[in-house]
């Protein structure tokens, strides 16, 4: 059954706004920032035109934005916001409390590289800096996937066994402003898919049981310590449960709307592959094209795209990786402390936990809006293949990364 009501042509920001509109949030709080602004402006327009019944509150900064949404969510509202780079950084204090409060918010991160040096362009350093703050992190490849995933995110976040905030990530510039064909699902079908709104049953303003939320917990006495540990364990359990819930919700989406998106990890032409590229976000399209081109020349290469990054799908990544003999992991962010890409670190850990050993290279590219082209991926494929063939002395010793845009040449 296909509940398709119409087809439009729009960019990733507008697609996200459509996903939000269809999810019927009650309170949206915002502070504008490049490249997020047009997303929240579209929502303001929907509200002004009477197409969405929600409060849109422009506030005086992102710290206030997320604080206001905590208040709204504690009062039982379905909430939404979006931000980028420095805006996420300024949000950090309420951001780290949201998972522990088990508030099922949905927020888009229109990914932007971090300062300094000053820059306003795409990159994933913003989200990677907060990757273990306890929010679920999902990364999209296309505008359609952005729209569909925003809606799914509400069902994932509000699942009674999850109750965690979700960031739906879409790359600044490439996805935020890249225009493509997008199908807008039918409102009634989305309503049915999301079910009855039950955002906050655990700490709502309930006249039957008024409560003050989040008293001082922990400390040196054994009882306090144990209670604090119990909260931490519960959050970890919620994260692990989310892996199954995310898969379930994606399966249900495919059943109802006829569009299948990978839930945790997408495997592309991997079955007979000897090497694989690991990608995340909008770069994956160029990586798949490069894999197709290499295959046309007899190189057996596939792509492993990380869709769900937190919780990290260790088993799914290991299962995909077990099909190949070497991996090239392409990151759009830097782990300064490890001198490699952050996804690279995660992949290494997943391989270890599955008892797998193989050559794995860390590639870093697409920083501060730099183009990641087919030629860059062709280079990554060639180097990964070389790593499979032999210990190539010209390759940097892992984890030292290969910087794809370092030569200053536009590689097209």
């Amino acid at each position: 059954m296909n509940h398709l009501s119409r087809i439009i042509v729009c960019d990733g920001n507008e697609a996200a706004a459509w996903g939000v509109k269809l999810s019927r949030p009650d309170v949206i709080a915002v502070y504008p920032i490049t490249p997020q602004s047009s997303l929240v402006e579209t929502l303001a327009k929907f509200v002004a035109e009477g197409e969405l019944d929600a409060e849109v509150m422009p506030l005086e900064g992102e710290h206030s934005v997320l604080s206001a949404l905590q208040g709204a969510c504690l009062a039982g509202a379905r909430t939404y916001t979006a931000t980028s780079g420095p805006g996420l950084a300024f949000m950090f204090e309420p951001y780290v409390r949201t998972p522990g409060l088990r508030l099922p918010m949905v927020a888009s991160l229109v990914n932007r590289d971090m300062l300094s040096p000053q820059c306003v362009w795409g990159g994933q350093q913003d989200v990677m800096t907060v990757r273990d703050a306890g929010w679920i992190q999902i990364f999209c490849e296309s505008a359609q996937e952005v729209l569909d995933t925003v809606i799914m995110a509400y069902r994932i976040a509000e699942h009674p066994a999850v109750m965690l905030p979700v960031n739906v990530n879409h790359d600044g510039n490439y996805l935020s402003y890249g225009v493509s064909r997008v199908e807008i699902p039918d409102q009634a079908a989305v309503d049915a898919f999301l079910g009855e709104k039950n955002v906050n049953w655990h700490v709502a303003l309930d006249p039957e049981r008024p409560m003050a939320v989040d008293p001082l917990t922990g400390g040196a006495d054994a009882e306090g310590a144990a209670r604090f540990v119990a909260y931490r364990q519960s959050l970890c359990r919620g994260m692990q449960t989310a892996l199954a819930v995310i898969s379930e919700v994606h399966a249900d989406w495919a059943r109802v709307f006829g569009r299948e998106h990978a839930a945790l990890v997408e495997e592309y032409r991997l079955d007979d592959a000897e090497i694989g590229l690991v990608t995340i976000g909008s770069m994956s399209g160029a990586a798949k094209d490069a894999a197709d081109a290499a295959r046309a020349e007899g190189v057996r290469v596939g792509v492993i795209r990380i869709k769900t990054y937190r919780p990290f799908p260790i088993a799914a990544v290991a299962a995909a990786a077990s099909k190949v003999g070497a991996l090239g992991v392409v990151d759009r962010a830097v782990s300064y402390g490890w001198n490699c890409g952050p996804v690279y670190q995660d992949v290494l850990a997943a391989l270890y936990s599955a008892g797998l050993r193989m050559p794995v290279l860390s590639f870093i590219g697409g920083l501060a809006g730099a183009d990641l082209t087919g030629a860059h991926f062709a280079r990554a494929i060639a180097m990964t293949r070389a790593a499979l063939r032999e210990a190539d002395a010209t390759l940097p010793a892992p984890p030292s990364p290969i910087w794809l845009n370092a030569d200053g040449e536009a590689t097209r």
Partner: protein, 293 residues
Amino acid sequence: MSETLLAPAPVLTKPPPPRDGAFTMQDFKSDIKPIWCPGCGDYSVLTALAKALAELGRPREQVALISGIGCSSRLPAYTSVYGFHGVHGRALALATGVKLARPDLTVIAAGGDGDGLSIGGNHFLHACRRNVDMTYILMDNQVYGMTKGQASPTTAPDWCEGKLTPEGPGIAPVAPLRLALAAGVSFFARGFAGNPNELARLIVAGITHPGFAVIHVLSPCVTFRPEQRAWKQAVHPLEGAPATDLATAMARFAADDGFTTGIFYACAAPPFMPERKRTKQASDFAKRFLVEI
């Protein structure tokens, strides 16, 4: 040998101006061409600032200009003094730090109405009451120019062109003068970008004032608020000398239509730590560090 550190953002520089002769406006401008829209009020703020510095005759290495983020906050790159383009909203906090470390410098903070009254609004209050000897150039265009035209805290409640507030912000705007007086400011002037000579005089007065001086500048955003071109007809000079007591200043505020230019208020209040005039030596810090360990 260790690797060379890549210096932050390469902005600057031209040969130092002559030390004996008089300074000119050009001595305080950098070679970087501003990327403001043609007709933006910020061009004139740059001119007025350069004029003021030339008139004060302070060598460029004795002046620091600190901004936040916004079109207006691009100002430091276009001058030849020490400059830093800081975090959105934090110009005043950064400038305070510079002044504490180097009391001998003339410290100027600059930025927009969004930077200074929205995301950085709390710093404005505390800078007014702390009264550190520095000057704040608040470039007000009643809009977030850089993010393409959303309402700011100084936007009128019925302005419906902002895409985040298509029905108007619907809340009373902040009046910087009222806010500053309530927070205990010791100097407040308002200028207009369309009158750079007067603005330069106000900036000179602000820099000369011992304490925190606010120069509120009406600086039109011709792209997102084209109607602000009419500000030229709306501005009018304040009558009378600067008020030196709060009651008179409040009366001035009550009579103000937002377009009065001049020095509203200048009172003698002790600046923050006026007695500390000399920079600490690096060795002072080293000594204390050793003792504490």
